[in-house]
């Protein structure tokens, strides 16, 4: 059974230094509030897994929380580069970042394999690509029935996955909808799973066959409305495209980035305070 906790308590108890952490959400339902809380609590030496690192990992990498990044597309969607990711890869700032690079099809399959309790995923991929030359974990396997040579990649099995979702009930069952990405697979592939939600209700009223994660498959559920910002939660809020654009100049420069982290993350007690501060700053503009 999932415990209903504050995000601060959930991160304190279930995210450890050195963990392999997946904060998933394919553009939609990105658990930004959890990323902030990990920075606030100064977690270190994390191996971060995410198909699209996005702003959430740009912040964790720049804040010095990450030792390694496992990913498949590292840009600021619709805007350009992730400058903190690039600075870490190109100039080792604030510390060296080991990267393990895959394709989307590979990582999506690797999450499916992780959730399935399998050691590796098999897919038709990478023939003719240079990626296997720079990622020795991309190997091949020969089909025992047809002889076809296919790609074999290790499954993703995080110590802890965090996702954002729309609703939970008071027992901690979670309902999500819209673009699901790999949310369900990432949750079930992990040893522990925290879900932040827009609201907690008496009854999910989930239609048959909808995407429900049962409470007994989760570790903790935290009520964090708007916790995916600047990503979005379908039906609750919209993607803040302006923030994605505003992030570019903030992250471009080490000083402006560090000042932003100090003011907005270390300078706030939790995501509620962060949102209030951000709103005040935006009104002042």
């Amino acid at each position: 059974m999932a415990e209903i906790l504050t995000l601060r308590d959930a991160v304190k108890r279930f995210v450890n230094d050195g963990d392999t952490v997946a904060l998933e959400g394919f553009t939609h339902l990105i658990p930004t509030a959890a990323g902030h809380e990990i920075i606030r609590q100064g977690k270190k030496d994390l191996t971060l897994v995410r198909m699209t690192p996005d702003l959430i990992y740009d912040q964790l990498i720049g804040a010095g929380c990450a030792r390694k990044l496992i990913f498949s597309w590292g840009g600021n969607p619709g805007v350009g580069s992730l400058h903190r990711l690039r600075d870490a890869v190109e100039k080792q700032w604030p510390q060296p970042l080991e990267i393990e690079e895959h394709s989307h099809a590979d990582l999506a399959n690797a999450y499916v394999a992780g959730a399935s309790g399998l050691p590796f995923a098999v897919l038709r991929a990478y023939a003719g690509s240079d990626l296997p030359k720079v990622n020795p974990l991309i190997k091949t396997v020969t089909c025992p029935f047809t002889g076809e040579v296919l790609a074999a990649v290790p499954s993703v099995r995080p110590d802890i996955t965090v996702i954002h979702a729309q609703k939970a009930d008071r027992k901690g069952n979670v309902l999500l909808w819209g673009i699901l990405g790999v949310q369900k697979e990432a949750a079930l592939a992990a040893k522990r799973c925290i879900v932040t939600v827009e609201e907690i209700v008496d009854d999910l009223n989930a239609p048959m066959n909808s995407c429900v994660l049962p409470t007994w498959a989760l570790t903790a559920v935290c009520h964090v409305p708007g916790g995916a910002h600047p990503s979005y939660a379908h039906g609750y809020n919209e993607r803040d495209n302006r923030f994605y654009q505003a992030w570019d100049p903030i992250a471009r420069d080490r000083e402006t980035f560090s000042a932003w982290i100090d003011e907005y993350i270390h300078g706030t007690a939790d995501f509620n305070e962060f949102q209030a501060k951000l709103a005040t700053a935006q009104e002042a503009k």
Binding site: G75, P77, E101, H104, A105, S129, I179, L180, N241
Partner: protein, 259 residues
């Protein structure tokens, strides 16, 4: 109607999508061209985005690959793993529509690094869905602006394979799809030459000279025996494109040129 070279590129790319075909769409230029096709010549084209929407019919262009508009207008939304497993690898995609940072004469694509992988001059976003789209879609279209920096003699990194080293490379690699069948730029259209699979210019956009194309290509680009001139964008095409861009800019709070 007067038009820009970028508009010519988008219109020329949109015309390549046949009505009723199933298209796996990359974000950015491919998405713009694919939606223009849906709004003009190919109303029944099926647009699939890697985040999960199948049959998306957005009224404004998505800024990210997972915008809510894509989900709301889709016939169905499936998990990302399913998109790659059942729909792409399962052999149901007619056209993979890709952008690129760099492309070579065989339509191989680099979106990973400029310079050495371990000490890159420029770190690019990486693979995303492209390597498997390039491998498994029945055919591939590539759209990007042409310059000698983007059309290079040798790629620093092959992220997604086109025709490999040319000839029967794809067959030897065991790739199921036919690979790239067209590269559409702001200057011209290139198609693979039969046999060698090297891309040659088959159409110049109106007013573009061979010298311009040569200067904007990093390898010794060749021209097909018959080089046609692309038909100018029609009023219908331009109006549909400009309306789409204006709706997009208004929805995303951008200036008109940004969309």
């Amino acid at each position: 109607m007067a038009y820009s070279t970028n508009e010519m590129m988008t219109v020329a790319a949109a015309r390549r999508l046949q009505n009723g075909s199933v298209c796996f769409v990359g974000i950015g230029l491919p998405s713009k061209a694919a939606n223009l096709a849906r709004l003009t010549s190919s109303p029944d084209v099926v647009l699939i985005y890697e985040s999960g929407p199948i049959g998306a019919k957005p009224s404004v262009l998505p800024l990210s690959i997972g915008d809510g508009e894509l989900a709301e207008t889709a016939d169905t939304v499936v998990p990302t793993g399913e998109i790659f497993r059942y729909w792409l690898q399962g052999g149901r995609i007619d056209v993979g529509f890709l952008g690129a940072a760099q492309v070579d004469r065989f339509g191989n694509i680099n979106t990973t690094v400029v310079g050495d992988y371990h000490q890159p001059k420029v770190r690019l976003p990486g693979a995303g869905g492209a390597p498997e789209i390039a491998g498994s879609a029945k055919s591939v279209l590539i759209i990007l602006k042409q310059s000698s920096r983007s059309f290079v003699d040798k790629l620093d990194f092959v992220t997604s394979v086109g025709h490999g080293e040319g000839g029967d490379s794809r067959k030897r690699l065991g790739l199921p799809g036919a690979g790239p069948v067209g590269i559409i730029t702001d200057l011209c259209i290139m198609e693979p030459e039969e046999g060698s699979h090297e891309f040659v210019v088959t159409a110049l956009h109106p007013g573009v000279t061979r010298e311009q194309v040569v200067a904007a290509t990093g390898w010794a680009i060749r021209f097909a025996e018959q080089v046609s001139v692309t038909a100018e964008p029609t009023e219908t095409e331009l109006t549909a494109l400009r309306d789409l861009e204006a709706r997009t800019a208004a929805a995303h709070g951008q200036a008109p040129g940004e969309a």
